[in-house]
């Protein structure tokens, strides 16, 4: 008896709740559209990756400016957190944006370890997350989720196409050398996969502890192994030093060096003569000769008095992607499912060329073969058309 009566009251309450909610909906909708869209930027603004964080922010804001400062018809309010590229602070920093600032969209970040921390919280809270750089496979692999998107690349994507190119040049036995951490390992294994598929073989994998930059011993090893070619993943300071050391050891003329594009991105001035002629694969090249890229680069340098790089493009594309998704729901970020569907359907006319999203929410994009000429990565061809990351471990179905 009691149970039934209680149940009855619950039913009544439920009905009343539904009624109240229904009555409130139009009002809430109106308020949501009037209020500014809350955008959380969690990027490195200090430390080694500060320049990358700033480029991504600039690129994103450029895309917004081109839309009259609005996305989906709504003005934006920015909430910024410096993630310091410190994975141990990632949960706390992410929560600041998600819990305290209640952002509608979370954007971040550069460092893979920090990005995976953000992914964890995005999975728990359902907050929409767009990753504008970090290439860790897991974000759109094991840990993929309907509310997690990436506008950059996976490390696998930047390594895999080079395998075939190296074999096409007649090089079969290749040594790989990279930092022993996620990005290096994923890039090298992507390359090894492409190489094996084309009939080549990795004869030896050499590892350098991250972020050490003393390569002399391993360069001596390479010389005595006498491979046909070398594939490498290094970035930033490590890339500068590796390329210079490689040339100084006299290996440049003897054993051709190939790499993922980060080897020669944003560091060409520091590498100087040693980098000339190096060939790398990446989803963008600053020397990409298309009208779309030219107009983007002009707009960017006009707005920020500096040259756009791959990170700026990724930030810009984050803006384009969000614009497409929010247009589909006319700015109402509370309509999660429609918003996600809008994002998934988007076709991004990026400075890097058009791309769409894979089932796992990672760009399906052309990977270019680039060659260093002066202080520019000249695009000499397409290494792989519309390359899709295998997204191993992701069982998500499209909504």
């Amino acid at each position: 008896m009691t149970h039934r009566r209680l149940g009855g009251r619950r039913d009544f309450l439920k009905a009343a709740g539904c009624f109240t909610a229904a009555a409130l909906v139009p009002g809430r909708l109106a308020r949501a559209q009037a209020a500014k869209l809350r955008i959380g930027l969690m990027l490195p603004y200090t430390g080694t990756y500060a320049a990358l964080g700033n480029a991504i922010t600039n690129g994103f804001k450029l895309a917004v400016t081109e839309r009259g400062g609005k996305l989906g018809g709504r003005e934006l309010e920015y909430f910024t957190v410096d993630d310091e590229s410190d994975p141990s602070k990632a949960p706390e920093n992410t929560n600041k944006l998600v819990q305290r600032d209640k952002v509608d969209v979370l954007i971040g970040t550069v460092h893979s370890g920090v990005a995976l921390g953000m992914v964890k919280i995005a999975r728990e809270t359902g907050t929409l997350l767009v990753i504008p750089n970090a290439g860790a496979a897991a974000a759109t692999g094991d840990l993929c989720a309907p509310n997690i998107f990436r506008t950059s690349f996976t490390n696998w994507q930047t390594g895999y196409p080079m395998g075939k190119i190296v074999v096409d040049r007649g090089f079969k036995n290749v040594v790989t050398i990279t930092w022993k951490y996620a990005a290096g390992e994923e890039s090298a294994s992507g390359f090894a996969e492409g190489l094996a598929k084309a009939g080549g073989k990795v004869v030896k994998e050499l590892w350098v502890p991250f972020p050490q930059v003393e390569f002399q011993a391993l360069l001596t090893s390479i010389a005595s192994l006498k491979p046909d070619a070398v594939y490498t993943f290094f970035a930033g300071a490590g890339a500068v030093k590796f390329v210079k050391d490689y040339a100084a050891a006299g290996l440049k003329g003897n054993v051709p060096l190939f790499g993922s594009g980060f080897l020669t991105d944003g560091v060409l001035e520091a590498q100087g003569e040693a980098a000339q002629g190096l060939e790398t694969t990446l989803h963008y090249g600053d020397g990409l000769d298309t009208p779309r890229n030219k107009s983007f680069r002009e707009a960017y340098s006009k707005a920020y008095k500096s040259d756009a790089d791959v990170y700026a493009v990724q930030g810009y594309d984050t803006g384009l992607l969000l614009a497409a998704g929010l247009d589909a729901v006319r700015g109402d970020a509370t309509q999660k499912n429609q918003l996600i569907a809008g994002l998934e359907k988007a076709r991004i006319e990026s400075p890097r060329g058009a791309w769409t999203l894979s089932k796992a929410h990672n760009p399906i994009q052309d990977i270019y073969l680039r060659k260093v000429v002066g202080v520019q990565n000249k695009v000499v061809g397409v290494a792989h058309k519309a390359l899709e990351d295998p997204a191993r471990g992701c069982s998500m179905k499209r909504t």
């Binding site: 010389a223 050891a249 100087g272």
Partner: protein
């Protein structure tokens, strides 16, 4: 053949470590000051090399200019700050010098930005000597080794054979006694400190063309430096030399033979040596 080249690599790396670690061990051994900011001076040296070499167009003009700048900086830091820390415990010294690291890093960020910069190898030395059919050795690396050896020899002579060296050594064991003999130990300390940090900056300067300059470069090398000082025995220049060479060779060989453990090889070595000789290889105490 590969073995000899690897040995050369190890020795060359070791000698550079010595240049850096000797300053650290001098300051700690003689004055008892734990200076965590030592790595920052390495960074300062490298960035000054980058800046002055670009400004003056020549490493050979940049080097003496820079040595003077850093020496004055060391002098001022000692006079204004470090001289107040001699009688404090190590925790205060650690806190203060850690603060210095943060200040220097931020100044670096403000003045030079966060980008990586290359420093050109001086024209005269930018050649390579062919060693095997496909491997050459950069002359500049040999120049680094030679310079380190000359500095090491100079330090040995000054500390072991001269009157000033005698006062320095005496001051490290019994400060009051040296003062009562009418030697101004304060001045000597000031010079030793300035000299120690100048050594670190000098190491950064000559390493800059091969290492390039980048944010956080001081912190990375500082850790290895401490390993050298601890293994060699705190305060012992001879120990620093032996330990630096040992670390250089173990690190190099470790990278080639056991790449999986190359990151920890030198720390394993340190742990093993400290079990055997907790005071370090050469500490006299």
């Amino acid at each position: 053949m590969e073995f000899f080249v690897q040995l050369l690599n190890g020795i060359q790396y070791g000698l550079l470590l010595f240049l850096l670690a000797s300053g650290l061990t001098l300051i700690f051994g003689i004055m008892g000051v734990l200076n965590l900011a030592h790595g920052s001076f390495y960074m300062i040296g490298a960035y000054l090399a980058f800046w002055l070499a670009r400004g003056t167009g020549s490493m050979w003009i940049a080097i003496p200019l820079e040595l003077a700048i850093v020496c004055v900086l060391g002098f001022i830091l000692e006079a204004v700050f470090f001289s107040r820390l001699y009688h404090r415990n190590h925790l205060h010294q650690v806190l203060f010098s850690f603060g210095l690291i943060l200040v220097f890093e931020d100044l670096r960020s403000i003045l030079f930005g966060d980008d990586v910069h290359g420093v050109p190898v001086p024209e005269l030395l930018s050649r390579s000597i062919p060693l095997t059919s496909n491997l050459s050795y950069p002359v500049y690396r040999l120049f680094i080794s030679g310079t380190c050896l000359v500095v090491a020899a100079g330090m040995y002579v000054v500390i072991q054979k001269t009157k000033i060296g005698m006062a320095i050594r005496a001051g490290s064991t019994n400060r009051e006694m040296v003062e009562s003999l009418g030697i101004n130990i304060r001045t000597i300390y000031r010079w030793v400190f300035a000299f120690g940090v100048t050594l670190a900056a000098f190491a950064g300067m000559i390493a800059a063309p091969v290492s390039s300059v980048y944010p956080g470069m001081g912190g990375q090398i500082l850790i290895v430096c401490f390993v050298v000082v601890v293994i060699g025995g705190i305060g012992s220049i001879k120990g620093a030399m032996v330990a630096a060479l040992l670390i250089g060779i173990v690190d190099t060989v470790g990278q080639v033979l056991v790449p999986e453990f190359s990151g920890v090889a030198i720390y394993l070595l340190m742990a093993a040596l400290l079990l055997w000789r907790p005071q370090g290889l050469f500490r006299v105490a």
